[in-house]
């Protein structure tokens, strides 16, 4: 294990975080997602794309959908490996998820940021549990409603401590509702998802949990997508963020994406992220592309 920080100097921390942020700035990142799935029961394109925090969801927020295409008689397992490559840094996210009968989703994931030149790294474990409470994405009278939690724990805790976070681990709770209309406005299939998340995580937890300006908040996340046909969709996501650290301002995130589903065993996603102000740098944006494969 490589120490993240070689001193407690705040400026060093700030500089480090700026480097970390650079990997999301105007970056082309490549995410390779490999999924193993037992089930093909659900409609194409309803399994979501691989979110950073694991489980089923979009790029920056979880959705009420559960991993893979399992129906009530089936199970599905997905394994996701993501790699984001920028000049100086690499972001790696890896997670596995199990969907039992479209009812319970368990996920375990790791989110790492590594400095290529120095090998310095911040690693975070994320364990997720999501339960479908009621409804169905497409068919039921009621929308799909799920509740979930994400327990996040920093393995490398020095940066979080240095920027003034209260804790190095924390748990997010969320309520999630999703609906897809097959024959929506304009005779196009549309998808909407809304989350209410209770969290104290700073920058997804990579900067620890809580801070001098507060800790737990209820925050809103939303995703919308429109399917041109069953193979192509475009969408947008929004994620409200906390702002717990007076030293490092944190902004809400926005994302637009385009997803291509040639089959249930393969999907590609490209996205443009607007991450706002990070570590004093404003208007931070990023590109990423992802590929999902299922066997």
């Amino acid at each position: 294990m490589v120490s993240v920080m070689n001193s407690n100097s705040f400026m060093a921390v700030l500089r480090r975080w700026k480097f970390l942020c650079r990997l999301t700035i105007a970056a082309i990142s490549c995410t390779v997602v490999c999924s193993m799935t037992h089930a093909e029961g659900q409609l194409l394109g309803t399994a979501g794309v691989g979110p950073l925090e694991g489980g089923s969801g979009g790029g920056i927020s979880p959705w009420a959908t559960l991993a893979g295409y399992a129906t009530r008689d089936e199970w599905a397992a997905t394994a996701t490996i993501s790699k984001v490559d920028v000049s100086d840094f690499t972001l790696n996210a890896a997670s596995v998820a199990l969907n039992y009968q479209n009812r319970i989703e368990l996920s375990i994931g790791r989110l790492d940021i590594q400095d290529k030149s120095g090998g310095e790294i911040i690693r975070q474990n994320i364990g997720g549990l999501k339960v479908r409470v009621l409804g169905d994405l497409v068919y039921d009278k009621l929308p799909l409603l799920s509740v979930g939690l994400q327990h996040k724990s920093l393995i490398d805790q020095d940066t979080a401590r240095a920027v003034g976070a209260q804790d190095t681990s924390g748990t997010d709770f969320y309520i999630s509702a999703a609906r897809a209309w097959l024959n929506g406005p304009g005779n196009r299939t549309i998808f909407l998802n809304v989350n209410l998340r209770n969290t104290e995580a700073n920058q997804l937890g990579l900067l620890g949990f809580g801070g001098d300006r507060g800790d737990r908040h209820w925050l809103v996340e939303g995703a919308a997508a429109i399917y041109f046909n069953r193979h192509w969709a475009i969408g947008a996501e929004y994620r409200q963020k906390p702002d717990n650290l007076s030293a490092l301002k944190e902004d809400d995130w926005n994302e637009v994406f385009i997803a291509y589903f040639p089959s249930k065993s393969l999907s590609f996603t490209g996205a443009y992220l607007e991450l706002g102000s990070i570590a004093g740098q404003r208007n931070q944006n990023a590109w990423y592309v992802s590929m999902q494969a299922a066997f």
Partner: protein
């Protein structure tokens, strides 16, 4: 900001299209009338034969009868002037224990059939929505 603008534009686009949708022609006409429905049902039957999940529910099927009743039913459901002389959806599927996965597989077959016949996506979605509304009269009976 750009992203927010794009999101807002998409919503305007979606809402705007809704008004157009209100003035649409009957689905029966959009699908090409009787000739169009016949081509669709024939293509669907072909897709079903290549789909073991769905095919397992059609082992004793009289395909001529299936085709005839399917055509009548689709004609009626899409706004054509036909009489459906088959059994109700509930009666047809009683005892078949069609699973959610099998139902979705049939939807998949229908989507494939419509893709092959190059039926416009919007027209296809109108038909899928009708089929989706009958789901509770089809699965787990």
């Amino acid at each position: 900001m750009k992203t927010r603008l794009l999101s807002a534009l998409s919503i305007f686009f979606i809402v705007g299209c809704h008004n157009i949708a209100a003035r649409e022609e009957s689905l029966y006409v959009a699908l090409g009338g009787q000739v169009g429905l016949e081509r669709l049902v024939d293509q669907l039957i072909e897709e079903i034969h290549f789909d073991p999940v769905v095919m397992s529910h059609f082992e004793d099927t009289n395909w001529d009868r299936f085709r005839e009743k399917q055509l009548e039913h689709l004609c009626l459901l899409t706004g054509g002037e036909c009489q459906y002389t088959g059994d109700s959806m509930l009666d047809v599927h009683a005892g078949m224990n069609v699973s959610e996965a099998a139902f979705n597989a049939l939807v998949n077959d229908l989507q494939k059939a419509m893709e092959k016949l190059q039926i416009p996506v919007g027209t296809g979605n109108r038909l899928l929505a009708i089929l989706a509304s009958m789901r509770s009269e089809i699965i787990y009976l």
